[in-house]
Point group: C2
Protein backbone atom coordinates (compact mmCIF):
# COMPACT_ATOMS: atom_id res chain seq x y z
CA UNK A 1 0.00 0.00 0.00
CA UNK A 2 2.94 2.30 0.13
CA UNK A 3 3.17 2.57 -3.63
CA UNK A 4 1.20 5.34 -5.25
CA UNK A 5 -0.81 7.76 -3.20
CA UNK A 6 -4.07 8.73 -4.87
CA UNK A 7 -2.84 12.21 -5.76
CA UNK A 8 -5.56 14.18 -4.10
CA UNK A 9 -5.89 17.45 -5.85
CA UNK A 10 -5.94 20.43 -3.61
CA UNK A 11 -8.59 22.95 -4.59
CA UNK A 12 -8.90 26.13 -2.62
CA UNK A 13 -10.82 24.99 0.40
CA UNK A 14 -12.67 26.71 3.20
CA UNK A 15 -9.97 26.02 5.73
CA UNK A 16 -7.31 28.11 4.08
CA UNK A 17 -4.37 29.38 5.98
CA UNK A 18 -4.90 33.11 5.97
CA UNK A 19 -8.24 34.28 7.40
CA UNK A 20 -10.69 35.21 4.61
CA UNK A 21 -10.02 38.94 4.72
CA UNK A 22 -6.62 39.93 5.93
CA UNK A 23 -6.01 43.18 4.13
CA UNK A 24 -3.35 41.73 1.87
CA UNK A 25 -3.72 41.28 -1.84
CA UNK A 26 -2.87 38.24 -3.86
CA UNK A 27 -4.00 34.67 -3.92
CA UNK A 28 -4.50 33.21 -0.49
CA UNK A 29 -2.09 30.52 0.59
CA UNK A 30 -3.72 27.12 0.33
CA UNK A 31 -1.56 25.79 3.07
CA UNK A 32 0.24 27.10 6.12
CA UNK A 33 3.63 26.54 7.63
CA UNK A 34 1.99 24.51 10.33
CA UNK A 35 0.31 22.30 7.77
CA UNK A 36 3.67 21.54 6.28
CA UNK A 37 5.10 20.80 9.68
CA UNK A 38 2.19 18.51 10.35
CA UNK A 39 2.79 16.72 7.07
CA UNK A 40 6.42 16.17 7.96
CA UNK A 41 5.41 15.02 11.39
CA UNK A 42 3.18 12.44 9.79
CA UNK A 43 6.12 11.06 7.88
CA UNK A 44 8.59 10.59 10.70
CA UNK A 45 8.29 7.22 12.27
CA UNK A 46 10.28 4.53 13.97
CA UNK A 47 12.52 4.28 10.96
CA UNK A 48 12.37 7.73 9.47
CA UNK A 49 14.32 10.59 10.94
CA UNK A 50 13.67 14.14 9.87
CA UNK A 51 16.94 14.39 8.04
CA UNK A 52 15.88 11.62 5.67
CA UNK A 53 12.70 13.36 4.57
CA UNK A 54 12.92 14.86 1.11
CA UNK A 55 11.33 18.07 0.06
CA UNK A 56 9.26 16.36 -2.57
CA UNK A 57 8.08 13.77 -0.15
CA UNK A 58 6.84 16.34 2.31
CA UNK A 59 5.18 18.28 -0.49
CA UNK A 60 3.47 15.11 -1.66
CA UNK A 61 2.20 14.39 1.84
CA UNK A 62 0.90 17.94 2.11
CA UNK A 63 -0.64 17.71 -1.37
CA UNK A 64 1.12 20.70 -2.81
CA UNK A 65 3.52 21.12 -5.68
CA UNK A 66 7.16 20.68 -4.75
CA UNK A 67 8.01 24.26 -5.50
CA UNK A 68 5.31 25.61 -3.25
CA UNK A 69 7.39 24.36 -0.40
CA UNK A 70 9.73 27.30 -0.86
CA UNK A 71 6.95 29.73 -0.08
CA UNK A 72 7.09 28.55 3.51
CA UNK A 73 10.61 27.33 4.16
CA UNK A 74 13.96 27.89 2.56
CA UNK A 75 15.10 24.36 3.23
CA UNK A 76 13.96 21.11 4.65
CA UNK A 77 16.48 21.96 7.35
CA UNK A 78 14.52 25.05 8.23
CA UNK A 79 11.39 23.00 8.58
CA UNK A 80 13.28 20.50 10.69
CA UNK A 81 14.36 23.18 13.10
CA UNK A 82 10.80 24.37 13.47
CA UNK A 83 9.80 20.79 14.12
CA UNK A 84 12.42 20.41 16.80
CA UNK A 85 11.21 23.57 18.44
CA UNK A 86 7.74 22.17 18.50
CA UNK A 87 8.94 18.93 19.95
CA UNK A 88 10.87 20.85 22.57
CA UNK A 89 7.75 22.64 23.68
CA UNK A 90 5.94 19.34 23.91
CA UNK A 91 8.72 17.99 26.04
CA UNK A 92 8.42 20.89 28.40
CA UNK A 93 4.80 20.10 28.87
CA UNK A 94 5.71 16.56 29.70
CA UNK A 95 8.27 17.70 32.20
CA UNK A 96 5.81 20.06 33.74
CA UNK A 97 3.37 17.24 34.19
CA UNK A 98 6.04 15.07 35.73
CA UNK A 99 7.02 17.80 38.15
CA UNK A 100 3.43 18.46 39.07
CA UNK A 101 2.90 14.88 39.98
CA UNK A 102 6.17 14.82 41.83
CA UNK A 103 5.07 17.64 44.07
CA UNK A 104 1.79 15.94 44.89
CA UNK A 105 2.95 12.39 45.08
CA UNK A 106 5.38 11.15 47.68
CA UNK A 107 7.62 9.19 45.38
CA UNK A 108 9.20 11.73 43.10
CA UNK A 109 11.20 9.24 41.16
CA UNK A 110 8.40 6.88 40.43
CA UNK A 111 5.84 9.47 39.48
CA UNK A 112 8.23 11.36 37.26
CA UNK A 113 9.31 8.32 35.36
CA UNK A 114 5.74 7.17 35.10
CA UNK A 115 4.75 10.47 33.59
CA UNK A 116 7.60 10.32 31.16
CA UNK A 117 6.81 6.82 30.03
CA UNK A 118 3.13 7.59 29.69
CA UNK A 119 3.85 10.51 27.45
CA UNK A 120 6.11 8.27 25.50
CA UNK A 121 2.97 6.69 24.17
CA UNK A 122 0.92 9.86 23.82
CA UNK A 123 3.33 12.32 22.27
CA UNK A 124 5.10 9.52 20.57
CA UNK A 125 6.12 11.37 17.47
CA UNK A 126 7.69 14.25 19.33
CA UNK A 127 9.61 12.01 21.62
CA UNK A 128 10.78 10.06 18.63
CA UNK A 129 12.13 13.22 17.20
CA UNK A 130 13.92 14.35 20.31
CA UNK A 131 15.39 10.97 21.05
CA UNK A 132 16.51 10.32 17.52
CA UNK A 133 17.51 13.70 16.27
CA UNK A 134 19.57 14.32 19.35
CA UNK A 135 22.12 11.75 18.29
CA UNK A 136 21.96 12.02 14.55
CA UNK A 137 21.29 15.02 12.42
CA UNK A 138 22.86 18.38 12.09
CA UNK A 139 24.50 20.49 14.70
CA UNK A 140 21.38 22.60 15.10
CA UNK A 141 19.30 19.57 15.94
CA UNK A 142 21.65 18.39 18.56
CA UNK A 143 21.95 21.75 20.21
CA UNK A 144 18.19 22.11 20.36
CA UNK A 145 17.84 18.76 22.05
CA UNK A 146 20.71 19.51 24.42
CA UNK A 147 18.92 22.65 25.45
CA UNK A 148 15.81 20.74 26.43
CA UNK A 149 17.78 18.16 28.33
CA UNK A 150 19.61 20.83 30.26
CA UNK A 151 16.28 22.37 31.11
CA UNK A 152 15.10 19.04 32.45
CA UNK A 153 18.27 18.66 34.50
CA UNK A 154 17.99 22.05 36.12
CA UNK A 155 14.45 21.48 37.23
CA UNK A 156 15.27 18.06 38.54
CA UNK A 157 18.24 19.41 40.44
CA UNK A 158 16.04 21.86 42.28
CA UNK A 159 13.68 19.05 43.15
CA UNK A 160 16.47 16.87 44.46
CA UNK A 161 17.75 19.60 46.74
CA UNK A 162 14.28 20.37 48.00
CA UNK A 163 13.63 16.74 48.75
CA UNK A 164 16.95 16.34 50.48
CA UNK A 165 15.93 19.05 52.89
CA UNK A 166 12.44 17.71 53.42
CA UNK A 167 13.55 14.17 54.09
CA UNK A 168 16.61 15.27 56.00
CA UNK A 169 18.69 13.07 53.71
CA UNK A 170 21.41 15.21 52.22
CA UNK A 171 22.67 14.37 48.80
CA UNK A 172 26.10 14.75 47.24
CA UNK A 173 26.55 16.48 43.92
CA UNK A 174 22.87 17.05 43.21
CA UNK A 175 23.58 18.57 39.82
CA UNK A 176 25.48 15.51 38.74
CA UNK A 177 22.83 13.21 40.09
CA UNK A 178 20.23 15.15 38.16
CA UNK A 179 22.24 14.86 35.01
CA UNK A 180 22.75 11.16 35.47
CA UNK A 181 19.05 10.64 36.05
CA UNK A 182 18.07 12.70 33.05
CA UNK A 183 20.39 10.98 30.63
CA UNK A 184 19.48 7.59 31.93
CA UNK A 185 15.77 8.19 31.67
CA UNK A 186 16.17 9.37 28.11
CA UNK A 187 18.35 6.45 27.23
CA UNK A 188 15.85 4.03 28.68
CA UNK A 189 13.07 5.86 26.93
CA UNK A 190 14.88 5.52 23.65
CA UNK A 191 15.23 1.82 24.27
CA UNK A 192 11.58 1.49 25.20
CA UNK A 193 10.20 3.42 22.28
CA UNK A 194 11.21 0.70 19.86
CA UNK A 195 9.73 -2.09 21.94
CA UNK A 196 6.10 -3.16 21.84
CA UNK A 197 4.08 -1.36 24.42
CA UNK A 198 3.59 -4.33 26.70
CA UNK A 199 7.27 -4.13 27.58
CA UNK A 200 7.06 -0.56 28.73
CA UNK A 201 5.98 -1.48 32.21
CA UNK A 202 9.06 -3.62 32.68
CA UNK A 203 11.34 -0.88 31.41
CA UNK A 204 9.67 1.52 33.78
CA UNK A 205 10.38 -0.73 36.74
CA UNK A 206 13.98 -1.13 35.67
CA UNK A 207 14.39 2.58 35.33
CA UNK A 208 12.93 3.26 38.72
CA UNK A 209 15.35 0.89 40.37
CA UNK A 210 18.23 2.45 38.48
CA UNK A 211 17.29 5.90 39.64
CA UNK A 212 16.97 4.69 43.21
CA UNK A 213 20.49 3.40 42.92
CA UNK A 214 21.69 6.81 41.85
CA UNK A 215 19.89 8.62 44.63
CA UNK A 216 20.91 6.10 47.27
CA UNK A 217 24.48 6.30 46.07
CA UNK A 218 24.53 10.07 46.12
CA UNK A 219 23.19 10.04 49.64
CA UNK A 220 25.73 7.48 50.74
CA UNK A 221 28.53 9.50 49.23
CA UNK A 222 27.73 12.47 51.37
CA UNK A 223 27.24 10.30 54.45
CA UNK A 224 30.59 8.59 54.10
CA UNK A 225 32.28 11.62 52.67
CA UNK A 226 33.69 9.58 49.85
CA UNK A 227 35.98 11.45 47.55
CA UNK A 228 34.70 11.25 44.03
CA UNK A 229 38.18 10.78 42.52
Amino acid sequence: MATKSPVRKRVSSARDARPPAAGAAGRRPSISRDDLIAAALGLVGPNRSISTLSLREIAREAAIAPNSFYRHFRDTDELAIALIDLAGRALRKIIGEARHRASVDRSVIRSSVEAFMEQLGAEEKFLHILLREGNTGSEAFKRAVERELRFFEDELCVDLIRLAKVNNAPIAEPALAAKAITRLVFAMGAAAIDLPREHHAAILEQTVVMLRMIVAGAQRMVAENIQPG
Copy 2:
Protein backbone atom coordinates in the same frame (compact mmCIF):
# COMPACT_ATOMS: atom_id res chain seq x y z
CA MET B 1 38.06 19.94 -1.29
CA ALA B 2 35.14 17.57 -1.12
CA THR B 3 34.30 17.98 -4.77
CA LYS B 4 35.84 15.59 -7.22
CA SER B 5 38.09 12.81 -6.07
CA PRO B 6 40.89 12.12 -8.51
CA VAL B 7 39.42 8.83 -9.70
CA ARG B 8 42.33 6.62 -8.91
CA LYS B 9 42.20 3.66 -11.18
CA ARG B 10 42.54 0.36 -9.47
CA VAL B 11 44.82 -2.06 -11.27
CA SER B 12 45.33 -5.48 -9.82
CA SER B 13 47.78 -4.80 -7.06
CA ALA B 14 50.08 -6.91 -4.97
CA ARG B 15 47.95 -6.69 -1.87
CA ASP B 16 45.00 -8.49 -3.30
CA ALA B 17 42.39 -10.07 -1.16
CA ARG B 18 42.88 -13.74 -1.79
CA PRO B 19 46.36 -15.09 -1.07
CA PRO B 20 48.37 -15.57 -4.30
CA ALA B 21 47.64 -19.28 -4.66
CA ALA B 22 44.46 -20.47 -3.08
CA GLY B 23 43.57 -23.43 -5.23
CA ALA B 24 40.56 -21.74 -6.81
CA ALA B 25 40.37 -20.75 -10.43
CA GLY B 26 39.23 -17.43 -11.79
CA ARG B 27 40.29 -13.87 -11.45
CA ARG B 28 41.37 -12.87 -8.00
CA PRO B 29 39.24 -10.36 -6.15
CA SER B 30 40.89 -6.99 -6.17
CA ILE B 31 39.23 -6.08 -2.93
CA SER B 32 37.91 -7.83 0.13
CA ARG B 33 34.83 -7.48 2.27
CA ASP B 34 36.98 -5.90 4.91
CA ASP B 35 38.30 -3.35 2.48
CA LEU B 36 34.77 -2.30 1.71
CA ILE B 37 33.96 -2.09 5.39
CA ALA B 38 37.05 0.02 5.88
CA ALA B 39 35.98 2.31 3.06
CA ALA B 40 32.59 2.78 4.64
CA LEU B 41 34.24 3.36 7.99
CA GLY B 42 36.26 6.12 6.42
CA LEU B 43 33.12 7.86 5.27
CA VAL B 44 31.17 7.96 8.50
CA GLY B 45 31.85 11.09 10.43
CA PRO B 46 30.33 13.45 12.94
CA ASN B 47 27.41 14.14 10.65
CA ARG B 48 27.31 11.07 8.45
CA SER B 49 25.55 8.00 9.69
CA ILE B 50 25.90 4.70 7.94
CA SER B 51 22.35 4.78 6.72
CA THR B 52 23.11 7.85 4.65
CA LEU B 53 25.98 6.23 2.79
CA SER B 54 25.11 5.27 -0.75
CA LEU B 55 26.35 2.23 -2.50
CA ARG B 56 28.03 4.27 -5.18
CA GLU B 57 29.71 6.44 -2.63
CA ILE B 58 31.21 3.49 -0.83
CA ALA B 59 32.30 1.99 -4.13
CA ARG B 60 33.93 5.27 -5.08
CA GLU B 61 35.78 5.41 -1.79
CA ALA B 62 36.96 1.85 -2.28
CA ALA B 63 37.92 2.59 -5.88
CA ILE B 64 35.80 -0.12 -7.45
CA ALA B 65 32.93 -0.05 -9.88
CA PRO B 66 29.53 0.29 -8.27
CA ASN B 67 28.41 -3.13 -9.39
CA SER B 68 31.42 -4.85 -7.87
CA PHE B 69 29.90 -4.02 -4.54
CA TYR B 70 27.40 -6.81 -5.04
CA ARG B 71 30.16 -9.37 -5.09
CA HIS B 72 30.64 -8.76 -1.40
CA PHE B 73 27.34 -7.59 0.02
CA ARG B 74 23.74 -7.85 -1.01
CA ASP B 75 22.91 -4.42 0.36
CA THR B 76 24.45 -1.43 2.00
CA ASP B 77 22.38 -2.59 4.94
CA GLU B 78 24.29 -5.83 5.03
CA LEU B 79 27.55 -3.94 5.10
CA ALA B 80 26.22 -1.67 7.81
CA ILE B 81 25.41 -4.56 10.06
CA ALA B 82 28.86 -6.02 9.52
CA LEU B 83 30.25 -2.63 10.42
CA ILE B 84 28.24 -2.41 13.59
CA ASP B 85 29.43 -5.87 14.49
CA LEU B 86 33.01 -4.87 13.92
CA ALA B 87 32.65 -1.71 15.94
CA GLY B 88 31.12 -3.57 18.85
CA ARG B 89 33.83 -6.18 18.90
CA ALA B 90 36.63 -3.68 18.63
CA LEU B 91 35.24 -1.52 21.35
CA ARG B 92 34.65 -4.39 23.70
CA LYS B 93 38.20 -5.50 23.21
CA ILE B 94 39.48 -2.06 24.05
CA ILE B 95 37.39 -1.79 27.17
CA GLY B 96 38.21 -5.32 28.20
CA GLU B 97 41.89 -4.58 28.05
CA ALA B 98 41.36 -1.43 30.03
CA ARG B 99 39.61 -3.39 32.73
CA HIS B 100 42.57 -5.63 33.18
CA ARG B 101 44.92 -2.71 33.30
CA ALA B 102 43.11 -1.40 36.33
CA SER B 103 45.30 -1.06 39.37
CA VAL B 104 45.19 0.31 42.87
CA ASP B 105 45.20 3.97 42.06
CA ARG B 106 43.13 3.56 38.92
CA SER B 107 39.97 1.70 39.68
CA VAL B 108 38.11 -0.54 37.30
CA ILE B 109 35.47 2.09 36.80
CA ARG B 110 37.90 4.85 36.10
CA SER B 111 40.12 2.96 33.71
CA SER B 112 37.19 1.58 31.78
CA VAL B 113 35.56 4.93 31.34
CA GLU B 114 38.90 6.45 30.44
CA ALA B 115 39.39 3.91 27.71
CA PHE B 116 35.88 4.52 26.49
CA MET B 117 36.23 8.26 26.33
CA GLU B 118 39.60 7.99 24.66
CA GLN B 119 37.84 6.41 21.75
CA LEU B 120 35.93 9.61 21.23
CA GLY B 121 39.03 11.14 19.75
CA ALA B 122 40.40 7.99 18.22
CA GLU B 123 41.11 7.67 14.56
CA GLU B 124 38.77 4.73 14.18
CA LYS B 125 35.20 5.75 14.53
CA PHE B 126 33.91 2.61 16.19
CA LEU B 127 32.34 4.50 19.01
CA HIS B 128 30.69 7.01 16.73
CA ILE B 129 28.98 4.21 14.93
CA LEU B 130 27.52 2.59 18.00
CA LEU B 131 26.46 5.91 19.43
CA ARG B 132 24.71 7.10 16.33
CA GLU B 133 23.35 4.07 14.62
CA GLY B 134 21.42 2.87 17.65
CA ASN B 135 18.75 5.49 17.27
CA THR B 136 18.61 5.88 13.55
CA GLY B 137 18.43 3.43 10.74
CA SER B 138 16.38 0.38 10.09
CA GLU B 139 15.09 -2.09 12.59
CA ALA B 140 18.00 -4.37 11.81
CA PHE B 141 20.49 -1.65 12.66
CA LYS B 142 18.94 -0.97 15.97
CA ARG B 143 18.80 -4.60 16.86
CA ALA B 144 22.45 -4.98 15.95
CA VAL B 145 23.42 -2.11 18.21
CA GLU B 146 21.19 -3.39 20.98
CA ARG B 147 22.96 -6.70 20.74
CA GLU B 148 26.34 -5.07 21.16
CA LEU B 149 25.13 -3.08 24.14
CA ARG B 150 23.83 -6.26 25.69
CA PHE B 151 27.28 -7.78 25.29
CA PHE B 152 28.73 -4.86 27.15
CA GLU B 153 26.19 -5.26 29.89
CA ASP B 154 26.82 -8.97 30.28
CA GLU B 155 30.57 -8.57 30.54
CA LEU B 156 30.17 -5.75 32.99
CA CYS B 157 27.70 -7.75 35.05
CA VAL B 158 30.08 -10.64 35.66
CA ASP B 159 32.74 -8.10 36.51
CA LEU B 160 30.50 -6.44 39.05
CA ILE B 161 29.75 -9.76 40.67
CA ARG B 162 33.40 -10.66 40.72
CA LEU B 163 34.33 -7.34 42.29
CA ALA B 164 31.59 -7.68 44.86
CA LYS B 165 33.10 -10.94 45.98
CA VAL B 166 36.65 -9.67 46.00
CA ASN B 167 35.84 -6.53 47.96
CA ASN B 168 33.34 -8.30 50.16
CA ALA B 169 30.85 -5.63 49.23
CA PRO B 170 27.76 -7.35 47.88
CA ILE B 171 25.72 -5.58 45.30
CA ALA B 172 22.00 -5.62 44.62
CA GLU B 173 20.65 -6.29 41.16
CA PRO B 174 24.00 -6.48 39.41
CA ALA B 175 22.37 -6.96 36.04
CA LEU B 176 20.39 -3.78 36.41
CA ALA B 177 23.39 -1.88 37.67
CA ALA B 178 25.35 -3.07 34.68
CA LYS B 179 22.61 -1.93 32.36
CA ALA B 180 22.39 1.45 34.03
CA ILE B 181 26.13 1.94 33.80
CA THR B 182 26.30 0.90 30.17
CA ARG B 183 23.47 3.12 29.04
CA LEU B 184 24.70 6.03 31.05
CA VAL B 185 28.23 5.79 29.72
CA PHE B 186 26.97 5.66 26.17
CA ALA B 187 24.67 8.58 26.79
CA MET B 188 27.49 10.63 28.23
CA GLY B 189 29.69 9.62 25.36
CA ALA B 190 27.08 10.81 22.93
CA ALA B 191 26.94 14.12 24.75
CA ALA B 192 30.70 14.47 24.70
CA ILE B 193 31.20 13.53 21.11
CA ASP B 194 30.04 16.88 19.82
CA LEU B 195 31.97 18.93 22.30
CA PRO B 196 35.48 20.22 21.68
CA ARG B 197 38.06 17.85 22.94
CA GLU B 198 39.14 19.94 25.90
CA HIS B 199 35.79 19.25 27.52
CA HIS B 200 36.19 15.50 27.37
CA ALA B 201 38.15 15.35 30.57
CA ALA B 202 35.39 17.07 32.48
CA ILE B 203 32.79 14.71 31.05
CA LEU B 204 34.96 11.82 32.06
CA GLU B 205 35.10 13.02 35.65
CA GLN B 206 31.37 13.53 35.72
CA THR B 207 30.76 10.08 34.37
CA VAL B 208 33.08 8.45 36.90
CA VAL B 209 31.22 10.09 39.76
CA MET B 210 27.89 9.05 38.29
CA LEU B 211 29.00 5.45 38.07
CA ARG B 212 30.25 5.56 41.64
CA MET B 213 26.79 6.73 42.63
CA ILE B 214 25.25 3.75 40.93
CA VAL B 215 27.63 1.27 42.48
CA ALA B 216 27.39 2.82 45.92
CA GLY B 217 23.64 2.86 45.65
CA ALA B 218 23.43 -0.75 44.56
CA GLN B 219 25.61 -1.72 47.50
CA ARG B 220 23.53 0.27 49.90
CA MET B 221 20.37 -1.30 48.60
CA VAL B 222 21.56 -4.75 49.50
CA ALA B 223 22.88 -3.57 52.85
CA GLU B 224 19.62 -1.99 53.90
CA ASN B 225 17.52 -4.55 52.12
CA ILE B 226 15.57 -1.84 50.40
CA GLN B 227 12.70 -3.04 48.33
CA PRO B 228 13.05 -1.84 44.79
CA GLY B 229 9.34 -1.08 44.44
